[in-house]
Amino acid sequence: MSDATLPSAAATPPRSASRARSESPVVQVALIAISLAFLLLFLLLPLVTVFVEAAAKGWEAYRAAITEPDALAAIRLTLLVAAIAVPFNIIVGIAAAWAIAKFEFRGKDLLISLIDLPFSVSPVISGLVFVLLFGAQGYFGPWLQANDLKIVFALPGLILATVFVTFPFVARELIPHMQSLGSADEEAALTLGASPWRVFFAVTLPNVKWSLFYGVLLCNARAMGEFGAVAVVSGKIRGLTNTMPLHIEILYNEYMGAAAFAVASLLAGLALVTLVLKTLLEWRYGDAIAASGRH
């Protein structure tokens, strides 16, 4: 940086401060064009494809594809799995953020890394570990069979795999936000005689509600869209253990491309709703969310 403070030999005349922070229009247009082209190729085209292909056979076929019993079962299952996995992760995420943001203790950095761990584990491995534990050949398999309990190839397995994959999402959003807020508000409330739970519900939660909501949105989107991990533990029984992403794969494999993309369009629609909600949040509560930092 020291170089920049010295006028170089080929110094150009000093520019005005207002122009100093922008590039020439040509460069601007070029950079915008590059960005747009990149987004178009990698993000927007896939999205558009989903809707174009879904509409390929007309509205009737679309309606039939998403109201067919197996599709409805898949939608129900996906909603059920998310309805269990997401609240679980909310509770754990809040607990983790409380412990990490409000207290200083040894091993905190390790704990943060461990919470982040599932994020860098391949989804396939996330499914595999539960098969190794609870599959018939797994460590707890014989015991589970003896007691007629089913985990893999049934709802609990799908939930476990989903919870594993989405484990860090809520905590990741909450921890930096709560850290940046400090604990002065809570301490004041306690001094004024509020009960601990009241402090939590009346002071802390309202303070972080938007980053919590933001984390929940991302967590939910991932929970509903997860493919690799649930594919390993699902068993793919139609109408029973097929989630929406797996149902899409099945339809695609049955030459029912339009139907596959019709169901996919529901998930893509969910993605769009997530994005719209998130953007609205950012417009209204930009500061609070910016403080919560990165994903």
């Binding site: 006028p7 994020f119 534990l133 993309f261 994903h295």
Partner: protein, 298 residues
């Protein structure tokens, strides 16, 4: 952090309640959901015995799959670092119609299910797809420096290692943009203006003043994109071609080993993947910590 003399040697005192409960929930859930299952994975891998572990770990197919997964993830993360930085810059600095829309669209890969992404990408980049058919006439020879990964680009993207990269670029983009964006937004204008007033060219200002400040965030985004890309499965298998030794990614190899009833083999490959990712993420964090020390906390 000054260590207070209390009975709790491992945590500082606080008047706030609930530490035990919060930490208890966290550690219990973490152990049950994450740590014990991963321990089972290591246990299973170890059960194979040293000779078998070595045989699986050093088999050419395993090495080729790991190499593909890690190099494709690396280059996808690099592409994302470059274009993600440009994108974040454009979003923060320029006003143009549709900026808000573009900003929102960046998060799409977070929200779009990976299988859906994979099917659409395969449809688009296949030789008879929208983009694939345009690329077909553009055959050229592409060699990536410092590796022996050189593809004679025969106009095909889907069903080649390039297809793997396309899917991984899709998956990783938001990580870079979303980590760099807030830093760019908070960048103080005075240093930039001072540099310009003192006669530094715009190019020089960007590379000497702005980039160093953004670098740690860019690095974080790069590491996140990379970590996510290495393990990605859902979107890749549809577009990869899955040819052993050529376009077969490591997670697919795990699935294949599993389908051959070779649980220990699958666990060995999985363990290798985990260990390598952790080592790389750790290295990334160290580099980042050094960068932070050098350029100040951002």
């Amino acid at each position: 952090m000054t260590a207070a003399t209390t009975t709790f040697r491992w945590r500082e005192p606080s008047i706030l309640p609930g530490f035990g409960l919060a930490l208890g929930i966290t550690v219990t859930a973490l152990s049950l959901i994450v740590l014990i299952p991963l321990a089972a994975l290591f246990l299973k891998a170890a059960s194979a015995g040293p000779a078998d572990i070595w045989a699986v770990a050093t088999s050419p197919r395993t090495l080729a799959a790991l190499k593909l997964s890690f190099t494709a993830a690396l280059f996808a993360a690099l592409v994302n670092a470059v274009f993600g930085l440009i994108l974040a810059w454009v979003l923060v600095r320029y006003e143009f119609p549709g900026r808000r829309l573009i900003d929102a669209a960046v998060d799409l890969p977070f929200a779009l299910p990976t299988a859906v992404a994979g099917i659409s990408l395969a449809a688009i980049y296949a030789p008879n797809g929208w983009v694939g058919s345009l690329l077909a006439p553009l055959a050229f020879k592409l060699t990536i420096p410092f590796t022996d990964l050189s593809f004679g680009f025969d106009g095909k993207v889907a069903y080649t290692p390039l297809g793997v990269m396309v899917a991984l670029i899709f998956i990783g983009l938001p990580f870079v943009v979303r980590t760099v964006q807030p830093v760019l937004e908070e960048l103080q204008s005075d240093v930039e203006e001072a540099a310009a007033l003192l006669g530094a060219s715009r190019f020089r200002t960007i590379f000497r003043v702005i980039l160093p400040q953004v670098l740690p965030a860019l690095m974080t985004g790069f590491v996140l994109a990379f970590a996510r890309a290495v393990g990605e499965y859902g979107s890749v298998i549809f577009i990869a071609g899955n040819v052993p030794m050529l376009s077969e990614i490591a997670p697919l190899l795990i699935v294949i080993r599993l389908e051959q009833f070779d649980y220990a083999g699958a666990a060995v490959v999985a363990t290798m993947m985990l260990l390598i990712s952790f080592a790389l993420i750790l290295a990334g964090n160290l580099i980042q910590a050094r960068a932070r020390r050098r350029f100040g906390d951002v």
